[in-house]
């Protein structure tokens, strides 16, 4: 994976800003199939994550990869975030990291 550019924190709404670029997002797993996982972003939008998910998934999952469309990510890195996760706080983080404080992140 190309590690030269940092991955932008995104939620459902912000994903479309980074199409073609590296993003990271935490999703709540709704459904998992071979080759993709359907998840709910921290702002309650549906995101499809393509790639090879790990065999066992916890409720929350962080994925890092390239944004393919405004609701799809092709993920290279999958990390289980456990079952307890404060989605609200993460959502705020996404908003701040892409808004007021983006100079600190990207």
């Amino acid at each position: 994976m190309d590690t030269s550019s940092p991955a932008a924190f995104v939620n459902g709404a912000l994903l479309r800003r980074y199409i073609g670029q590296k993003v990271r997002a935490v999703v709540q797993v709704i459904r998992s199939d071979i080759g993709s996982v359907t998840g709910k972003s921290t702002d309650d939008q549906q995101i499809v994550v393509k790639g090879s998910p790990p065999p066992s998934l916890t409720t929350f999952l962080e994925v890092i990869g390239i944004a393919e469309s405004d609701n799809t990510i092709r993920a290279d890195v999958w990390t289980n975030f456990g079952d307890n996760f404060d989605a609200g706080n993460y959502n705020e983080l996404c908003k701040l990291a892409n808004g007021e404080f983006r100079h600190m992140f990207i």
Partner: protein, 704 residues
């Protein structure tokens, strides 16, 4: 001269063509004026003026509303006065037409009698008590203000604003039941209705708060002021002849609530147990707590601070259901930074560490009411109220219930915490960066002294027994208690603190005795180190007691860890987000810097924001990048992009000078000679203006 009066008006009123001011506002002259006294049980008799109104041709009898009595007493209304009736109602009583005058305009106070009016009806005395006319009830509704005991047949169109509980009682005539409900009409008049026994059965299920009803034919009795707090001298008692009919079409002219607001500042001088309405901005709200009542039942209560334009704030306590319904809504509004307007109707003033307002059974809470007062408050708040100083007339508990005062570590030194007479109690969010492992515990006396073990250090007698000086006894086995020297670090600085038994156990996760054995007896170095390592470099919320202590001419500020809690990232993050929001919205409303304000140190400061900025300007030598904060908590990394302000977080009416809850900063005894800056009572959104160059400890006025 006859042109002055509305000729023919009386004729029209007598014939029924004109029955209210909606049809006409006639100009009439007073040709007779008489005072009637209505005796009332246990209360002063009520005065009412009866008069004859003429249009130059005929005259008719009328009654003045008691609110107009003053005008008669002042002589503004006399025989001969020319008046325009702006609000009145002409009613049929016992075959006579009576005009009930609610509002009028005085055209001329003195005037010769115009024309030669013929009284339309032979004048007669009113009965002083006991109404009941035999006529039809008026087809249109009368205003509540027009109700009086002389007329038994009336109809009112009203909305129910509150409904009381069904209560049973045992009286002389056996068991009975009663319930009451309050009404408001389109003119804003209010009156309470009470039903007894059979009448309760008829109406209890019919009455629903918020609905509009047509109610007819009740008895007017004097209001019982101990129970009835409405501004009406009468109350209605319904009987079997009364009827209640629901209006399915809502009437928008009838308000939902009628308030008579008092300023929060006025509450201070009001008597305990009086009932008032109040409106203000909710500046903070605490979560629901439950307390045990004397009779063993649990009660839910929830406190909030309400502030208004009088510059005062008061604690409002909600009981019972209010905690959940309105309480939750208020909490979420406050959490998201929109401090709502709350109107309280019929709150009781109580005295307990200052004055407070509590809800009672018949209270009502309205969040964000659609009232002009609410809009005024909102505008004031946006303009200046948010940052305006506010004195709380409710002082907090002293002792128990100490609120969190969040600080960052450098503040301990910079603000000279602990140097005043009393110790400072603060909360910091920090990591243990170092732990002295050599003497992490001491041998303690286990003898129970009162309800606690003595815990004084015992000396080894050499033979395996231990002697305690305080208890003057020897024991075979001693306790081991923690005395951990810790180095606490956050992104601003480092400090040493000592943790004793309870805090020590929380941090290490293992009793002191076990750890001692592990190290000294079992010599299990590896396990020991493991435990130490686990405890260090974890983030906690520490409650510290900071006090300056003097040891043989040398004074040092020592910090004791009173409580150590693992940091709950989720809630801490949320508080930080809130703090940021607050900071942002305050940036949008800049307040002029006031050098006086530098004396003020309000409730809690946000760790990481504001003060760190201050530190930078005063050349702090510890760069933030060194601090090992967990990367996940990225929100912590900000801080100084914004101004050099300190913002209160969490609530407190802590006296900032000495940490006590018994008084506020302004009244702190340790502090009286200094210029008093602005000060707030609690919380969210109450802050002072910007401090010039940073948060100022009181000793450092102007030093930055």
């Amino acid at each position: 001269m006859a042109g002055k009066l509305t000729a023919g008006a009386i004729g029209k009123m007598l014939s029924g063509e004109v029955s209210t001011d909606k049809e006409m506002m006639p100009i009439l002259q007073v040709t007779e004026l008489k005072l009637i006294q209505q005796p009332r049980k246990n209360q002063d008799s009520m005065e009412r003026y009866k008069l004859s109104l003429s249009d130059g041709i005929q005259s008719q009898e009328g009654i003045l509303n008691t609110t107009l009595n003053l005008l008669v007493k002042q002589g503004k209304i006399q025989v001969g006065s020319v008046l325009r009736l702006t609000r009145f109602f002409s009613n049929n009583v016992q075959f006579r037409r009576i005009a009930i005058v609610l509002e009028l305009e005085i055209i001329a106070e003195q005037c010769d009698i115009i024309g030669n009016p013929l009284p339309a009806q032979p004048p007669s005395m009113y009965a002083n008590t006991g109404p009941v006319s035999r006529n039809e009830a008026p087809p249109t509704a009368v205003p509540i203000a027009a109700l009086n005991p002389y007329q038994g047949r009336w109809t009112i169109k009203v909305r129910v604003t509150s409904k009381g509980e069904l209560r049973r009682f045992n009286g002389a005539r056996g068991e009975g039941k009663v319930f009451s409900f309050d009404l408001v009409d389109a003119d804003g008049g209010e009156i309470r209705v009470t039903c007894f026994n059979d009448v309760v059965d008829r109406f209890f299920d019919v009455i629903v708060v918020g609905n509009v009803y047509l109610i007819t034919k009740g008895n007017l009795k004097p209001a019982r002021k101990e129970y009835n707090h409405l501004p009406n001298d009468y109350e209605i008692h319904l009987d079997n002849a009364s009827t209640i009919q629901q209006c399915y079409e809502d009437d928008a002219t009838i308000p939902r609530n009628q308030f008579h607001f008092k300023d929060i500042g006025a509450i201070e001088s009001m008597e305990s147990n009086s009932i008032i309405d109040v409106i203000g901005i909710v500046s903070s709200i605490s979560p629901t707590g439950s307390i045990m009542r004397k009779n063993g039942t649990e009660a839910q209560k929830r406190a909030l601070q309400l502030k208004d334009m009088s510059g005062r704030s008061v604690e409002v306590t909600m009981w019972g259901n209010f905690c959940n319904a309105e309480g939750e809504r208020l909490q979420s509004l406050c959490d998201s930074g929109l401090f709502p307007v709350l109107a309280v109707k019929a709150g009781r003033i109580s005295e307990f560490n200052g004055k407070q307002v509590s809800t009672i059974g018949s209270s009502q809470l309205v969040v964000e009411p659609d009232l002009p007062e609410a809009r005024e408050l909102r505008a004031w708040y946006e303009r200046e109220g948010r940052n305006a100083p506010c004195i709380s007339i409710s002082r907090e508990f002293s002792g128990a219930g100490r609120q969190e005062v969040r600080k960052v570590i450098t503040q301990i030194k910079d603000e000279n915490l602990g140097t005043s007479e009393k110790p400072d109690w603060i909360t910091v969010s920090a990591t243990i960066s170092f732990m002295k492992v050599e003497n992490f515990c001491y041998t303690a006396c286990p003898i129970i002294n009162g309800d606690r073990p003595c815990s004084k250090k015992v000396t080894n007698n050499g033979d395996g027994t231990w002697r305690c000086e305080k208890c003057d006894k020897c024991v075979d086995e001693c306790d081991y208690k923690y005395i951990l020297q810790l180095q606490l670090q956050d992104h601003t600085g480092v400090t040493w603190a000592t943790a004793f038994q309870e805090a020590g156990e929380e941090i290490m996760g293992i009793p002191a005795k076990d750890l001692y054995y592990m190290k000294n007896e079992d010599r299990d170095e590896e396990k020991f180190e493991d435990i130490v390592r686990k405890a260090a470099f974890t983030k906690y919320i520490f409650k510290l007691k900071v006090k300056e202590e003097t040891f043989s001419d040398e004074s040092r500020v020592k910090a004791t860890v009173v409580k150590a809690e693992r940091l709950d990232y989720s809630s801490d993050t949320r508080s930080l987000l809130e703090a940021m929001n607050k900071l942002r919205t305050e940036d949008a409303n800049p307040v002029t810097t006031n050098p006086e304000s530098s004396n003020y140190r309000s409730g809690a400061f946000i760790s990481g924001i504001g003060t760190s900025g201050t530190r930078e300007t005063s050349s702090l030598d510890v760069p933030r990048s060194e601090f090992g904060l967990p990367a996940a908590n990225q929100v912590n990394q900000f801080g100084n992009q914004h101004s050099n302000e300190s913002r209160p977080l969490g609530g407190a009416t802590l006296c900032d000078a000495c940490g006590s809850n018994a008084h506020v900063f302004a009244n702190c005894p340790s502090f009286l000679s200094e210029p008093q800056g602005q000060h707030t009572s609690s919380v969210y959104g109450n802050t002072t203006g910007r401090n010039a160059g940073g948060s100022m400890p009181r000793q450092h006025v102007g030093s930055y």
